[in-house]
């Protein structure tokens, strides 16, 4: 029996595409966010509220959305109604978006005249966290109806996330959700990350989330992760 040492990175191909995306984003001066959460966490409603609120902001970020789904174009249609530039990415069964798919979609948008791209990943708390898309930040979206223990049950996503949006907080009075415990679990896996308590229905808490998006866009320009060629 012979042992042949290999040491080949199994995420290498995805990482190469993610690196190409980072180059493309830097070239066009775009910041990219990757929203990850379970099906029904309220990702699309949060996006709708985000698109409408950003349109009213002084900064006027030029936004496009890449909608990842297994099937149907329903989410993209919802955003298109808000006159948002949107592309639907259908994975045809796959449980996550991969960097190559996102890179092609970005290239085809086309990426000119944009400041911000938000990717809505396939609804899933596990697999999307594994795949770098070349984004500036992963954002974990967790709804209060899912239970407070999700951060420690799905630690990879909450560890990798640069921010957490806790949605549906208007439902808190009707639920046994332990907010204090949830925030403790979030600190346990990833202390120091901002947590936004929002209701996309009532608009509560949306302003802080929008501020964070604006600051993240400015920071990526300052850090040279994107060009400031506007």
């Amino acid at each position: 029996m012979t042992t042949i040492k290999v040491y080949r990175n199994l995420m290498g191909a995805n990482e190469q595409w993610a690196a190409k995306t980072r180059t493309l984003l830097a070239w066009y001066g775009i910041t990219m966010l990757n929203l990850i959460g379970s099906p029904g966490a309220g990702k699309t409603l949060l996006l709708e509220r985000t698109v409408r609120t950003l349109a009213k902001c002084r900064q006027r970020l030029r936004l496009a959305v890449l909608e990842g789904d297994i099937a149907t174009t329903r989410d993209a249609e919802r955003l298109a109604r808000l006159h948002c530039r949107v592309s639907q990415l259908l994975t045809d069964g796959a449980c996550h978006l991969q960097a190559k798919m996102v890179h092609y979609a970005l290239r085809d948008l086309p990426p000119t005249e944009l400041d911000l791209v938000i990717v809505e990943n396939v609804g899933n708390l596990v697999c999307p966290a594994e795949f770098d898309l070349g984004e500036h930040a992963k954002v974990a979206v967790l709804s209060v109806t899912e239970g407070e223990d999700k951060p420690i049950k799905y630690p990879t996503l909450f560890r990798e996330a640069q921010a957490v949006v806790l949605t549906k907080i208007d439902l808190l009075p009707h639920l046994a959700f332990n907010l204090k415990a949830c925030l403790k679990y979030l600190r346990q896996v990833n202390a120091g990350r901002p947590v936004f308590l929002v209701s996309s229905t009532t608009g509560e808490g949306i302003d802080d989330w929008i501020k964070w998006i604006n600051v993240t866009c400015q920071l990526s320009v300052v850090r040279g992760q994107t060009n400031n060629r506007k």
């Binding site: 012979t2 290999v6 199994l10 996550h96 346990q188 896996v189 202390a191």
Partner: protein, 117 residues
């Protein structure tokens, strides 16, 4: 089932390595090292491996997965150590500002091959 996508890459990598060997070499074991931050379920991975290698020169080889621990370095006090029970706080000062130094690895480590004498 992200294991399926990862396994596709693994099978391609193992096939490429096997091609470099003299004819008659039989692949017995494929060893993968997976950091614990990767949430690789070994059963899902071996199931995907068996399904993807059926009818190929890799068929019948066994996939083994070595889990690698999560480790971190504290940005506040410089402590380095293992992360236990997914509590991402410093083992010395309790701070939460940690740099992950291990647990994100995912690579094909080695192949065990039987060759004709």
């Amino acid at each position: 089932m992200h294991e399926l996508s990862i396994c596709e890459t693994l099978v391609k990598a193992a096939q490429a390595e096997l091609k470099k060997l003299p004819p008659g070499a039989r692949l017995k074991t494929v060893r993968v090292a997976a950091g614990k931050l990767h949430q690789i379920v070994p059963e899902n991975m071996t199931f995907a491996y068996e399904a993807l290698t059926q009818g190929t020169p890799l068929a019948g080889s066994v996939l083994t997965i070595t889990p690698l621990p999560i480790s971190a370095r504290c940005r506040a006090c410089g402590w380095s150590g293992a992360i236990q029970d997914l509590v991402f706080t410093c083992g010395a000062c309790g701070a939460g500002d940690l740099e992950i130094t291990g647990g994100r690895e995912l690579y094909l480590e080695n192949l065990e091959v039987e060759e004709d004498d």
